[in-house]
């Protein structure tokens, strides 16, 4: 007997309603039956994105939707700002480079959030900047950016604000319209509690103006074609039918729960997790800007970080994430996103305590779990 517990920042666990929807016989996508589903999915996404603008469903990983943002908005030689505060911020720069777009890169120390004033400074220095690429929650460090403040800065300029909200949307607050986010990109396997395979992208009026003059080559990710198709409740290419059907299930759940409840649940889990780590004598990697979806924790001295993650997973079935790139072996990432509740956090913490003990780290057994329980009880 082996039971698996998933506490990674994507994929996140699937609600049983999703598993059931995915296991149903397939239907054809060019039918009134699927059209009703596509319509409900698109409307539901607008609720979660908090937008009245367009939202499209793409059949791709989140990175495909990031590419869609770059190639639809810009042309080779255009100037943009890319905020790099981790592995996923770097992806914006790589994408721009691939399409000959000149990126003015704001390098932020891993574990810190970008200072909106730095974006302001760069925008003021170069009035030709057409877009600012940012990340809602940098999964590699657990840091959340202050998108609201960045939105206020960018709104004063002709540039559009693009946010990679693959990690975070539907779990922490992002008000696409109210905060002036022109293009918001997300994916299915995090806050949306689905398997990976579909991605979402919102487009504001200001973004459409830029799209209308962009010359980057594109076909599969062409949003102008997607817009024409959705006006007939269709997609340009065969969509990932079963994932869209399951999307409708989670959107119904999310609407019933309400965004405010979802956000406060994630905040509670994050607070409990942080309290537990502190009680275990562990240090947070990003104490000043940690997001509510994943907590990055420094591996204590003398402990093998990769072995910690591997043992939890292979010996006990609890999957958390290790560090990526420059943080490999130096942090572990304990996620609390999507279909996760307080007792999942408790279970994950108990496993963490067990393996830390086995690896010889000194602390009082139960201290982390107790600290989390206290936070949950106080709520």
């Amino acid at each position: 007997m082996r039971k698996n517990y998933l506490l990674t920042p994507g994929p996140t666990p699937l609600p049983p309603e999703v598993c059931q929807a995915l296991g149903k016989p397939i239907i054809h996508h060019r039918t009134p039956q699927f059209q009703a589903i596509l319509k409900e999915a698109t409307e539901g996404l607008k609720y979660v994105f908090q937008t009245q603008g367009d939202v499209f469903i793409l059949t791709s990983s989140g990175t495909g939707a990031m590419e869609a943002a770059v190639v639809n908005l810009l042309s080779a030689q255009d100037a943009v700002i890319c905020v790099e505060s981790g592995k996923f911020g770097e992806r914006w720069t790589e994408l721009c480079k691939a399409y000959g777009i000149n990126a003015d890169v704001i390098k932020v120390e891993w574990g810190k959030a970008v200072d909106p004033k730095e974006i302001e400074k760069r925008l003021a220095a170069n009035p030709n900047i057409k877009a600012v690429f940012t990340t809602l929650c940098e999964t590699s460090t657990g840091v959340a950016s202050d998108i609201e403040a960045i939105g206020k800065v960018v709104a004063k300029h002709k540039a559009v604000l693009v946010v990679d909200a693959i990690s975070g949307l539907g779990a922490i607050d992002l008000k696409t319209d109210a905060w002036g986010v022109d293009v918001c990109v997300s994916g299915s396997q995090k806050g949306f509690m689905l398997p990976p395979g579909i991605a979402f992208i919102s487009v504001s009026k200001k973004a459409w103006d830029l799209i209308s003059v962009s010359k980057s080559p594109r076909y599969y990710f062409d949003l102008t074609v997607a817009k024409k198709a959705i006006q007939k409740t269709d997609t340009p290419f065969t969509p990932a039918i079963s994932l869209v059907i399951a999307l409708v299930e989670v959107l119904r759940m999310m609407k019933q729960d309400g965004l405010e409840n979802i956000f406060s649940r994630h905040n509670l889990m994050a607070r409990a997790t942080k309290a537990a780590m502190k009680a275990l004598g562990l240090e947070l990697f990003a104490p000043s800007a940690a997001s509510d979806v994943v907590t990055a924790v420094k591996v204590p001295a003398g402990i093998d970080g990769e072995k910690l993650v591997k043992t939890m997973r292979d010996a006990y079935g609890v999957t958390i994430a290790g560090g990526q790139a420059e943080l490999k072996g130096k942090v572990f990432r304990f996620a609390h996103m999507g279909f996760i509740e307080e007792f999942d956090i408790i279970a994950g913490l108990a496993c963490l305590e067990k393996v830390l003990k086995e690896l010889g780290y000194a602390f009082e057994l139960g201290a982390g779990v107790k600290a989390a329980e206290e936070v949950f009880l106080k709520k």
Copy 2:
């Protein structure tokens, strides 16, 4: 009570093993557990593709893999040949146009297959041609191309042969290596009996040589990055985990069945379907080059083709496909691909007969079903 029967050329019905696999809890993709799955899936795909070369799994519709072929092989201003014998052949031309590639288009009358001699002629006339884009089974017309003969022609030139085998692979024969197919593209929702959402692409040595000098911008569909990742049994971006897990299930089934048995089953179903249509006094749209995966049939005079398809689907739950683009209302397409057996064909034919009667078409009730039964019995 309403039971649904799916006889469309994609998506095709899901085997129960696939439904079960899709409904399982999700696992993380960067684990030994998923690596074993990715390895088995890649090996199994090589069996179905009949290749020793590379095969990659992309998270996209089939069109995404078509775009991958174009952007990885070519640069703007390159010269290529595109064979257009239907809607999907036209997609190659559109893709090339989007990336500034000069397509010499061979327009073939819808319902006919391309003459390999025409490709030979054009290749001889322009030694700069870098690629020939073709379609295994043109879903819009039901026509299959003679890829083996085209392969012999292209092999004599420096150009690579690219085949859109989205419709057909794993259902009718295509010997990637033996026939000299340099890049073969397929999708999950046809011969592979899965929901749409992942696509496959094979790459020969000759194709890699071209890829090494291609300058088209690319990121999400960059096959060089995919190659580096698969060497570590990884994917560059989060894959559609649940679809890859289900892919392993179908690949096991396909291997157990054996390609020859799969091909002969499709041939038998195609022959039965054609015999039935003939017995009903209906005319095939492409009698000379009809594929074994979908049969396009002319809508008889006086019958509303769109109403025929709609009534079968909405009144009786049997989904076949109507005509696309210039064939809208003029043909219907009865598919026999993937997880379909003789009694599915019989059921579909009975529904076709019922609705044809209701719409006032004159024929002997049962004649089509009987003709199909005779073909199945003779086998």
